[in-house]
Structures are given as C-alpha cells and as structure tokens.
C-alpha cells in the first residue's frame, strides 16, 4: 500500500488531484508485465550481451578469450572500419540534411498557394518511405545501371558522355547511394513538417500578411520557427537511418567498389556472420550505437525549447 501512497502524493503534486485516479494499485504491474518481459528479454539483454562480447576474442565456436579494449582500438584505428564510420557520417548529409531542406520546400509549396491536389502530392511524396528498402535498392540498382534511367536522361540532354555505371564507380558510388536515401527520406520530413505547420496559429500569418510579408517571407519568419520540434524529430529519425543503414547498401553495392560504400552495419554483419570475429563486430556495433546516441543527443540539445 505504501507504494500507492507515494505515487499518489508525487503525481498529486505534479498534476492536481491526479491522485484520485491512482487506483491501479499492484494490478497495474500486470499491465506492464508482458511489455517489460519481452523488452528486457529481447532488447535490453541482447544489447548488454553484445557489450560483453565486445570485450572478447571469440569466433562463435571455440571458448572466448578476454580481449580487453583491443576490439575497440581496432574499430577506431583499422582503416577499413574507420572508413566505414566516415562513410556512415557522410551519409547523414544525404539522409538528413538534404531531405530536411527538400521537406521544407515541399511543405512551403503545399501550404502556400496550392488549392487542389494537396493530398495527392502528400501521398506520392511519402510513398518511398513505406517500401521495403531492399526493394528500393533493387529498383535503384537498375536506375543507376549502365543502361538505366539516369544515363538515359543524360543521353537525352546531350550529356551522354558523363554516363557510367554509377554504383560501380569508386568516386560516385557513395553519393549515388546517398541520393537514394534522399529519395526515401524527403517525404517523411515533409509529413512531419506539414503537421507542424498546421499547428501554427493562423493569426500570425494574417498579421504578417498585413505587415506586407509575401508568401516566402511568411514561411521563413512565421512557419519555420514553429517547426523547430518537427525538424529535430526528423533529424533524429533520419540520422539513425543514415548511420544504421544496412538493407540498401547490402542489395545495391554490398560495400563496393573497393570499400567505397562500406558502412558500419555492413561490416558488423560481415565480421559477425562471415568472418567469425564476434568481438570486433560487437565493438563496432557498440561504437555505432554510441555514435547514434551522441548525435541524437546533440540534435535534441540544439533544438531544445528554452534557448
């Protein structure tokens, strides 16, 4: 009973009279139990396990040996692994920065002068986001291929000499891959921004209009500041997608040519399941997670409300 009283007092302090609702008692835990059990058993426990593996020298069969921080040193200094991490960071430009810009443009156009077809455009723009990335990858493999759509277009505008197998070109493969990310993520950003833009008080727009602000000016000084929260959410989701991308790379380039498109997730998979170096794979996975948490934290810090 003691617990119930404490909770009642605490919640009562935060929200008036909320304590009256607190009749859940111990039965409340029964409602949490299934979620907590599955979450701890299949997410928290494996995460902690991987952390343990990262300190081991283990091939998955023979008894593991203690490796100290050796795997982490390897993950951060081995040129192959370090380059993969660098590639992952570069992908953020195409998965996060460009889509947010494109999403803002889409939003500005959709809430601007358009009267018809708004739903159509929203449905179309969001479409790539719902597809399995594997299928997106197989599609773009062909789009980028020697006789794919990109080269066809270049031929059409008289730039045929620039054509190449884009994903097979060491110089362009990563950018080409990144642009697939832009194609997938822009609609998601648009969707988040649209919802934010609808919450902005219309009287602010009217006031700005009376002050003589045109549509562009209104978007920049009224709508955009109201989207801070949505931009930060979009930033978080797309940054995770960039750093942890696997499906797309696996089917399009598989890391090639010559490691130009290796990303951390791909090497985690390869090390753990092809090369049997579970310690190094785990250490890389841990580094990847830390990177995600740090960047997500940074985005949320930059977007905090009270500044």
């Amino acid at each position: 009973m003691n617990e119930g009283v404490t909770t009642a007092r605490r919640s009562g302090r935060r929200r008036n009279e909320r304590g009256a609702l607190n009749q859940g008692g111990r039965g409340a835990w029964l409602y949490l139990l299934p979620a907590v059990v599955v979450y701890v058993g299949f997410l928290v426990y494996p995460a902690v396990s991987t952390l343990q593996f990262s300190f081991l020298d283990w091939d998955g069969i023979a008894p593991p040996e203690w490796a100290g921080i050796g795997n982490f040193v390897l993950a951060l200094t081995d040129p192959l692994l370090a380059r993969a991490i660098g590639n992952g960071l570069l992908l953020i430009v195409f998965f996060t920065v460009v889509p947010i810009a494109v999403g803002l443009l889409m939003t500005a156009l959709l809430i601007g002068r358009i009267r018809h077809g708004t739903t159509f455009f929203r449905v179309v723009f969001f479409l790539p986001q719902v597809l399995p990335l594997v299928a997106v990858g197989t599609t773009w493999r062909w789009v980028y291929s020697e006789d794919g759509m990109v080269n066809q277009f270049l031929d059409l505008v008289g730039l045929g000499h620039l054509g190449r197998a884009w994903l097979g070109d060491e110089q362009f493969a990563l950018v080409a891959l990144g642009l697939i990310g832009t194609w997938v993520m822009s609609g998601l950003c648009m969707m988040l921004f649209m919802s934010g833009a609808q919450k902005v008080d219309t009287s602010l727009h009217e006031a700005a209009a009376i002050d003589g602000a045109g549509p562009v000016r209104q978007f920049l000084s009224v709508t955009l500041p109201g989207l801070r929260k949505e931009i930060s959410i979009a930033g978080v989701i797309t940054t995770i997608a960039a750093l942890a991308s696997f499906d797309l790379v696996f089917v399009t380039t598989n890391g090639g040519p010559a490691g130009a498109t290796n990303v951390p997730a791909l090497l985690v998979y390869r090390l753990a399941f092809n090369e049997g170096d579970i310690g190094a794979a785990s250490a890389l996975a841990v580094v990847l997670t830390v990177l995600v948490v740090v960047l997500v934290g940074a985005i949320r810090y930059l977007a905090r409300e009270d500044s």
């Binding site: 494996p46 194609w183 942890a244 499906d247």
Partner: protein
C-alpha cells in the same frame, strides 16, 4: 494578381516535378517487369512484346510461396502482440501511474535509439543456444521488442491526451482497471490503435537484417529478405528482378493506399487528440 498566378503555376510546376522524380523509378520497374525475361532493358521504355510471364517466373524462382507464408506468419504475430502489449503498458504508464513509471517510460524511450545492429549478434548467438534461431517465435519476439519502444511511447502519449474527466467518471462508478481500459478508453482510441497497427505492420513486413540473421533456413525467410538474396542470384536478369521487386512491394503499397489516412494523418495527429 499576375504575380499570384505565376506563383501558383510555379508551385504546381515544382511539386509536379518532384512527384515525377518520386514516381519515375516505379514506372521504370513496372515497364521493365513487362519485358521478356532475360532481355536487355535500356532505360524507361515500352517493351516491344508485353510479357506478363515474369511475375509467375519470379514467383517460382524466388520461392515466394514460402517467403510470403513466412512474412504473413511473422507479421501476423508481431502486429497484434506489439499493439496489445503497447496498449496495456501505455495504459499503465499514463493512467494508472505505476510506481517507478517515469523511469520505465524513459527506459522504453531509450530503446528508440538502439539500432538493430547492436542486437542481432547477441540475438543470434544467445538464441542459437536455446533453439530459437530458425524459429518463428524467436524472430517474432525480437521484432516485438524492437517495436515496443515506439508502441509504448505512442499509446502512452495517446492515453495522456484523453480527457481526465472520462476516467474519473468511470472510477466514480466503481470501474476497475480492466473496465476503464477496454470499455472506456478503447472505444475512443481506434484511430491511435489503427495507426500503430499500420506502422508496426509496415516495419515488420520490411524488416530485413533481423530476419536475414535469425533465419538461416531460406524457406522461413520473409519476402524482402528473399528478395535481398534473389538479387545475388538473378541480379542481371532485370525483367525478372523487377517483377520480384514488385511482388515484394505490392502488399505494402496496397496497405498504404488503403490506410493512407492512418499513415499520413495518424503519424502527425493521432497522438495528441483522441
């Protein structure tokens, strides 16, 4: 006035261009899939000879009978379990206010930043010990755990937005937890639940790495995972690969178009309003 018309035309022009950029690859693979199997497909173009054969060939070559069955079994289990567990937990955390609930909420939210890569290694090697690799149960529970952070967050914020008077009134009438959740809250929660259902279905259907690792038996893999390996085998047969891609894409596109309100509006609005 002239300026306004020009601006409108420009807006439509830009939006149409972007829509075209989104849709062109689809048009491309649909047309590619209609070319005769094994033929060269040079960019977007109408096939000289329309061939519907590819879908049957790709279905057989890819073993989509098995893949689709696995996909349906896995999604069919993951979706109801995730939605049910998330609803119950969200209810407990927002309405019942359990002791330590705030820390639990935080614990679930932290799970949102955990990439699958951190989990697959241990999931594989730990579950192998207990025979849960190459088993639907292992994949299902792992996916439920993966989607619960969002699910719990979603349902919790939905229930927090429900007017307090509603629950208070029910309590006055002596309603127990069970009654409050299923009789009072659920009837007004269908929009939030539908959106969650649709999103979890999408994530489960599209999940790749987890299935790739945990299902070594090809016949138990899901459609997208099968496609990932299909590329390796038939990567040069563009019409066949295009057909296989469309087979994998079709179910999710149908769900999207039918439930586009839940995707589009749900993501943005459902959480706050009931």
């Amino acid at each position: 006035m002239r300026h306004g018309t020009l601006g409108t035309a420009l807006s439509y022009g830009l939006l149409s261009l972007m829509a075209l950029l989104v849709l062109l690859p689809f048009v491309g693979i649909v047309l590619a899939a209609l070319h005769p199997s094994g033929s060269q497909v040079a960019g977007v173009g109408l096939p000289e000879q329309w061939s519907w054969e590819n879908f049957r060939l790709a279905w057989e070559a890819g073993g989509f009978d098995d893949l689709m069955r696995s996909s349906l079994i896995i999604s069919g289990a993951v979706v109801p379990l995730t939605v049910l567990f998330a609803t119950m937990a969200g209810f407990a955390l927002s309405i019942l206010r359990v002791w330590g609930g705030r820390y639990l909420s935080l614990g679930f939210v932290l799970g949102l930043t955990v990439p699958v890569e951190l989990l697959v290694i241990a999931l594989y090697y730990n579950l192998r010990e207990v025979g849960l690799t190459d088993a639907y149960l292992g994949v299902v529970l792992a996916e439920v755990a993966l989607f619960l952070p969002f699910g719990v967050y979603w349902m919790q914020s939905h229930f927090s937005g429900v007017p307090r008077e509603l629950v208070e009134a029910a309590r006055m009438d002596g309603a127990r937890n069970r009654t409050v959740l299923w009789r009072v809250l659920m009837p007004i929660s269908w929009p939030a639940v539908t959106t969650l259902t649709v999103l979890v279905f999408m994530w489960s259907w599209n999940q790749f790495l987890l299935v790739l690792v945990m299902m070594q038996d090809p016949s138990m893999r899901t459609a997208p995972t099968g496609l990932g390996l299909f590329v390796g085998q038939y990567g040069t047969d563009i019409p066949l690969l295009a057909a296989a891609s469309l087979i994998v894409i079709a179910p999710i596109v149908v769900v999207y178009l039918v439930f586009q309100r839940s995707f589009v509006n749900g993501i943005t609005r459902g959480a706050v309003k009931g």
